[in-house]
Amino acid sequence: MGGASLFSVLVSEAPIALAEELARFAPGDGEAGGLGLFLGLVRGEAGGKALAALSLEHYPGMTERAISGILEEARTRWPLLGGRIVHRVGRLAPGEPIVLVIATAAHRAPALAATHFLIDWLKTRAPFWKKEIYADGSEAWVAARAEDEEMAARWQALSGAPGGVAPAPAR
């Protein structure tokens, strides 16, 4: 299998086709021994208010470029065999998947570390903006979280260390 085709990115208004996405990597090709996956889901409340929907804006062109760059960065850090990032844009209802990250490697440790890295960097380095639309009809743009910046920064501090330590989970 050509290596390049096993790394790809999709930004789309369509629902994430989970079964098809997993089928890209499982069953495996006999090389990959571990697959890490993260799926972000829309929560039904935000700041104590019931949420009717999320609206996701992005910067067409730059978004794909930024995500591809994040995937390339992960490949310099871990011996990955495959990687896939899918991000929804447009209007999403509570419960819907908003982002999917998959990383495969010969062994579990790099696959899981890369998965964590990819979602942390995606949250702080890809041009997406979320607006919360509440059940009462009001709406508000989501403010960037300092916590996300800190989680991503930990990876930066580790960039000299291939395969580096996973950052501590925020609570």
């Binding site: 992005h58 910067y59 930024a66 995606l122 949250k123 997406f128 903006w129 743009w141 960037a144």
Partner: protein, 88 residues
């Protein structure tokens, strides 16, 4: 696009506050960097002055790459301004 202009793009609440997705503006010769362009924007009116204030959290990209105040800007460039990202 005129040979001395830049394409500006705005996203999220910046787009809403300025009521503008995209515009072309003339690039004065003294504007050489993103920092210069931000200073120029600040002089375009009260809403611009607020949004592009030195304390603003606004981020920029030049030709679809993240930029800093020192990033060069030249005729024909696409310069985007937007709030900190909140995807994922």
């Amino acid at each position: 696009m005129s040979s001395t202009s830049v394409r500006l793009r705005y996203f999220a609440w910046l787009r809403e506050r300025l009521k503008c997705e995209s515009e072309e503006i003339a690039l004065p010769p003294e504007v050489q960097t993103v920092g210069d362009l931000i200073a120029l924007q600040r002089r375009r009116g009260p809403e611009f002055a607020t949004l592009f204030a030195p304390t603003s959290v606004i981020r920029a990209a030049v030709n679809q790459n993240f930029a800093t105040p020192n990033t060069p800007v030249g005729p024909g460039d696409e310069v985007a301004f937007f709030p900190p990202v909140t995807g994922g």
